[in-house]
């Protein structure tokens, strides 16, 4: 089974071979490293850029305008805050030129906590990203989604932000979630496409013949059907929600877990259908909790489904503090943990209106 990061790499490979991707670039994206998380190893269009996020995004915009198909990377989303103006610019190119131009580029960046990354390698970007109109935004939590969303992002005529939950990069998918064409044996896959340690100058990957899979942007995935309470989430916290759901199953509480996968546009029909069914909903993410994207979803839920609700809807999100501290206890206190998610869902399910 491919890991999430291998799935990204496979999709980028398919992108450059079959879908016109011309440039995969950013800091340490090209050889020898191939990305600080191995995400771009062995790709023929991968190259290293100067240490300059503004240049990276500017270059991607220009490449897109010139009919190339760029996939640019910001090494950690923590370092994407010096060019929010350029994100706004890219998101506004089609709109401000009244449709004269479009700007088809992919910007990928690792997000979130979970690797004890301290203040500047633990940031989330979902709230910031959803504040920039004109972008599509995706965030996978499984290898197959990572693969299919990347291909959809590459083919989209708009700028697409691809948020990769860094804590999940090494996780594998479920058996039925295989990428069509990937080798049965994960050691075989690793041997084919993972760069060796040490000297890599002579190494070339051997790409498996994987098939196209497009995960449509804007479509959520119901990871677990349930009837008692809904949790709407994405990225790393999907796994936390699933843990909580398993724990609660033992208590006869049946949790529906929705992995949003796309944040813009997002799958309102999926949320609506679930809330109409369970009448209890928790929005879960790990970005800081003031002016948080989950608050948008909650607001819309309240505006449109107020009388469907049998409990006050909840948000679980990150603490509104300037960073995530290095020590274990600090990180754990800063982002929602399984126990808190479990107790919140339990309370929602048991809530007497």
């Amino acid at each position: 089974m491919a890991t999430l990061v291998q799935a990204i790499r496979l999709a980028l490979h398919v992108g450059e071979e079959r879908h016109g991707v011309t440039d995969i670039f950013g800091q340490d994206v090209g050889p020898p490293l191939g990305g600080v998380f191995t995400q771009t190893q062995g790709l023929r269009s991968a190259w290293n850029s100067p240490l300059d996020e503004r240049g990276i995004v500017g270059a991607a915009i220009g490449l897109a305008l010139a009919g190339q198909r760029p996939v640019a990377e910001i090494q950690f989303c923590d370092y994407a805050f010096n060019m929010v103006d350029l994100l706004k610019l890219a998101g506004g190119i089609c709109w401000s030129s009244a449709g004269d131009w479009n700007c088809p580029m992919v910007l990928m960046t690792p997000v979130g906590s979970g690797i004890r990354g301290s203040i500047y390698h633990s940031h989330s970007f979902d709230a910031q990203a959803t504040r920039v109109p004109g972008w599509k935004i995706v965030m996978p939590s499984t290898p197959l989604d990572a693969y299919g969303l990347m291909l959809s992002a590459i083919l989209d005529p708009n700028p697409v932000m691809y948020l990769a939950p860094k804590a999940l990069l090494r996780t594998k998918g479920a058996h039925f979630e295989r990428i069509p064409g990937e080798p049965e044996d994960e050691r075989v896959l690793s041997k084919m496409i993972d760069a060796p340690l040490g000297d890599r100058s002579k190494w070339r990957p051997e790409w498996p013949d994987v098939k196209d899979v497009l995960v449509p942007i804007g479509q959520a995935r119901v990871c677990r059907r349930g009837k008692d309470v809904t949790v709407v989430t994405y990225g790393r916290t999907v796994t936390v929600a699933m843990q909580a759901a398993e724990a609660l199953a033992a208590e006869q509480i049946d949790v529906e877990v929705i992995d949003l996968r796309s944040l813009a546009p997002y799958d309102w029909p999926a949320i609506e259908a679930s809330v109409r069914k369970t009448r209890r909903v928790c929005f879960l993410n790990e970005d800081t909790e003031v002016t948080n994207f989950g608050e948008h979803l909650l607001r819309r839920t309240v505006e449109e489904l107020f009388y469907e609700l049998e409990a006050p809807p909840k948000l679980l999100a990150g603490a509104h503090v300037p960073g995530i501290g290095l020590a274990d206890a600090l990180e754990r206190a800063s982002v929602p943990q399984a126990d808190k998610v479990t107790s919140t869902l339990r309370e929602l399910a048991r809530h007497q209106p």
């Binding site: 500017g58 220009g62 010139a66 030129s97 009244a98 004109g134 083919l155 479509q219």
Partner: protein, 353 residues
């Protein structure tokens, strides 16, 4: 007045420009001036909320517009301009009435459908990237079109232009760094229109650089300073610089010392500034002296353009304004207009979304 200092590429004896070319230069410079004066008048009469434009930059910008290789895609020149590039567009063949439409924010404005300020051009079919108000971001975007042109080869180049004060932004530095990477030099012509002002702030108090052009030196980027009030010098300097970039496929930094004849914008009154050299007056004097055009002919031409533009402004007043619900148009592109315009090189498949 600053004299032409062709430092590099330099030396070669300069052939005189043909009388036809001089007449053409004059025609477009004059038209541009008349257009700006009409815009200013419109704004003062309440026909349009804001004026910003390029009176004083006509010599430089007309020459640029005449020298551009006009067309769509990397084989032609990309233009990343600023809000004073009126003359460039007119010299390329833009219709003056379209500028009036943008001034009056009509629905018929072809550059932004009534969304953007006047002189914020966008012409995809001529590779003119959308002009946007934030200073200097065009220098980041230019990197990308230039990378595309480095790849595709040919003679298409990227031209990026901005003011003097804006060079304090990091984006100017980014452009220098990215354009000069060893074995990755980019075919990019950077033009600084130095009018010695940023709104109310004199360059002399903000900038230690003797010439902004000197900033190319540490990167091995050739540069020149030209008298932007002398149309012939501008034409020759641009011709040389563009020729160098086109064929050497390396960057060049051209600084032109220009005037700012109506102040910064309507926000500062848009009144004529008598104490700066006027490139049009100087050029007309030369043409008269050399008996290429008579005073009468030039006066008549001015009267004709003034009258035409007055009439055009009246027509524009009758044109429809955009409707409120149109704000929702073009937030996302539905198809990839950029790549479609490039023909068979574009990917043929679109996503399912």
């Amino acid at each position: 007045m600053i004299s032409t200092i062709p430092r590099d590429p330099g030396g070669a004896e300069e052939s005189a420009l043909s009388p036809e070319l001089l007449v053409r230069l004059h025609d477009r410079m004059l038209l541009s001036r008349c257009l700006e004066e009409r815009l200013i008048r419109m704004n003062k009469q309440g026909d349009g909320f804001f004026w910003v434009g390029g009176p004083g930059e006509e010599a430089l910008n007309t020459a640029l517009g005449l020298l551009v290789h006009k067309g769509q895609g990397p084989a032609f020149d990309y233009l990343h301009l600023h809000y004073r590039s009126t003359a460039t567009l007119l010299a390329m063949g833009a219709e003056p009435i379209d500028t009036l439409r943008q001034m009056k924010n009509t629905a018929t404005d072809p550059y932004s459908a009534g969304r953007n300020f006047c002189n914020h051009y966008s012409v995809r079919k001529w590779n003119v990237a959308p002009v946007s108000s934030p200073i200097e971001v065009q220098f980041s975007m230019a990197i990308g079109t230039a990378i595309a042109q480095r790849r595709t080869g040919g003679t298409g180049i990227t031209v990026v232009q901005g003011g003097d004060a804006g060079t304090a932004e990091g984006d100017f530095s980014s452009c220098l760094v990215w354009c000069s990477r060893p074995s990755f030099e980019l075919p990019c012509l950077m033009i600084i229109a130095n009018n010695r002002w940023g709104i109310s702030t004199p360059a002399s108090e903000m900038h230690a650089e003797r010439n902004i052009a000197d900033r190319g030196a540490p990167f091995g980027i050739k540069s020149a300073v030209v008298d932007g009030n002398d149309a012939e010098s501008c034409y020759r300097a641009l011709e040389k610089a563009m020729d160098y970039v086109r064929h050497e496929r390396r960057p060049f930094l051209l600084e032109a010392m220009v005037s700012r004849l109506y102040g910064h914008s309507s926000a500062s009154g848009a009144n004529f500034v008598p104490d700066e050299p006027d490139c049009l007056v100087l050029f007309e004097k030369k043409l008269e002296e050399r008996r290429i055009l008579t005073r009468t002919a030039m006066d008549e031409l001015r009267a004709k353009y003034t009258q035409q533009l007055l009439e055009a402004s009246k027509r524009v007043r009758e044109e429809p304004q955009p409707r409120g619900e149109e704000i929702w148009k073009h937030v996302f592109a539905e198809k990839d207009v950029v790549r479609e315009g490039l023909g068979p090189r574009a990917v043929t498949r679109n996503g399912t979304h």
